[in-house]
Symmetry: C2
Subunit: 239 residues, 2 copies
DNA sequence: TGTACATCAGTGAACGCGCGTTCACTGATGTAC
DNA sequence: TGTACATCAGTGAACGCGCGTTCACTGATGTAC
């Protein structure tokens, strides 16, 4: 489908229409169309990664084909594939942060946090499959720029979690090194869980239920060790 | 360097000579050369992945270039890149299993196992960088065949670990589902540790030391929870 | 030990293909008067 | 409101390149006698 054909069919029930599309106006401003095309490129990339392709093996031409534009038009939106990749990191992390903000809003003890978090998070991952699939897949991409951007973002999340953990009994006395240690453990356990969620068929309710149950148990097991753990120092290392 | 030049330089201190190469014989049997070429292809692939390339983006031609043969000679050894990928999984898992066999040989309680295992394993990962780099990188490859082969192997390792864990106090009474739960947690923690080891510069002793210390603490924290954990059932689920 | 033939790892030319990127362009949208 | 011009998303031809794979081949190694 050419961009011309695409434009002609707008507002007439085109199933590919995006949510924010006014549609019935029949005509959109240049800025609106520009944003829509850019988003079409981003979504084409997410879709391909969700389907199993690695970022490195996605070609610029395949994305423009999916988005219904000519290859050269790609450059109206991104200087190269790296830049598009960073946009994907941005968009996917925005989704992830929204999820974490909600989880953080809960005020509760260990047990309540775990049981109140895991199920909603599980649901959220399935509802935003494409973003989470991108995040776990791109961790091992061959692209150094993307890999680095992702590592940085994950380290920031881990630090934020470490800070959050000081709200809890026992943990409030831990050294910051040990808080990072446990935050890292929790983050990695959750990443593995996300991988499992995406790996199992979304419609296999039993398998999905099992994954959520195991994730809960794993988190519970980790926090059970907390009261018995003797943190290396109760003050920040260099204070 | 062409295969001809390569062959001519053999036995004369060629730095690329493989360990098992008789060398001074000056001539090798057809079978020996065949095996050497095959290995050269495998090592070229491992080297490229260690350097950061993803499996999907490695071309057949680049490997034959590295191995010093003509592209078409590739087919004397592998039907396609998939088959070479499976050979890499094989070889890398052989290395991993050797490591695990050694670790298992230790007889001890929780604490002793942890401190006696983490450092040697850390050393071992650095000594077999290329195999471990392949294993962690290929987890997210776009190649479904490879990804599946790897998942299977990891699941087997997790099961074996679950069985091993019954040697320990408390754990011997756990249900098999809960044993898999903790084995999975331990395996994922170790995979994350391996990623960290490979991610930090090997010559940065301080960073490497820090990674080993954190890994020890994480394992210790997990096992500290064990005595307090009430396993769902003390018998296999369906018995 | 010597000869004749089979095997087979590696060769090299050739192919068609999809790729990223260049360039000059078109024509609809936006803006200044 | 109408006109003249500027902007700019998208076009389409063209390029050189590395890719996987085919094919008939070469010449050293291996084997049967």
């Amino acid at each position: 489908m050419s961009a011309h054909a695409r434009r002609r069919s707008e507002g007439s029930g085109d199933p590919g229409r995006r949510p924010g599309d006014p549609g019935r106006a029949g005509r959109r401003t240049q800025g609106e169309r520009r944003r829509a095309t850019r988003q079409a490129l981003i979504e084409a990339a997410l879709l391909r990664m969700e389907a199993g392709e690695s970022f490195d093996s996605i070609s610029l031409r395949s994305l423009t084909r999916d988005a219904g534009i000519v290859p050269t038009a790609f450059y109206r939106h991104f200087a190269n594939m790296d830049e598009l990749g960073l946009a994907l990191v941005d968009e996917s992390f925005r989704t992830l942060r929204t999820m974490l903000r909600r989880a953080r809003a809960e005020e509760a003890g260990y047990e309540q946090v775990i049981s109140a978090s895991v199920r909603p998070l599980h649901r959220y991952v399935l509802d935003h499959r494409e973003h989470f699939a991108f995040l776990v897949r791109v961790r091992s991409t061959g692209n150094p720029l993307l890999r680095h951007a992702l590592r940085i973002e994950i380290r920031v999340l881990t630090s934020e979690l470490a800070t959050d953990l000081t709200r809890f009994p026992h943990l409030c006395d831990w050294s910051s090194a040990d808080l990072m240690m446990i935050a890292d453990l929790l983050v990695n356990a959750m990443i593995s869980t996300v991988e499992a969620i995406l790996d199992a068929p979304a419609e296999d309710a039993e398998a999905q239920e099992e994954i959520a149950t195991v994730a809960e148990k794993q988190l519970r097991l980790i926090v059970l060790g907390v009261p018995n753990y003797r943190s290396g120092s109760s003050r920040p290392p260099r204070a």
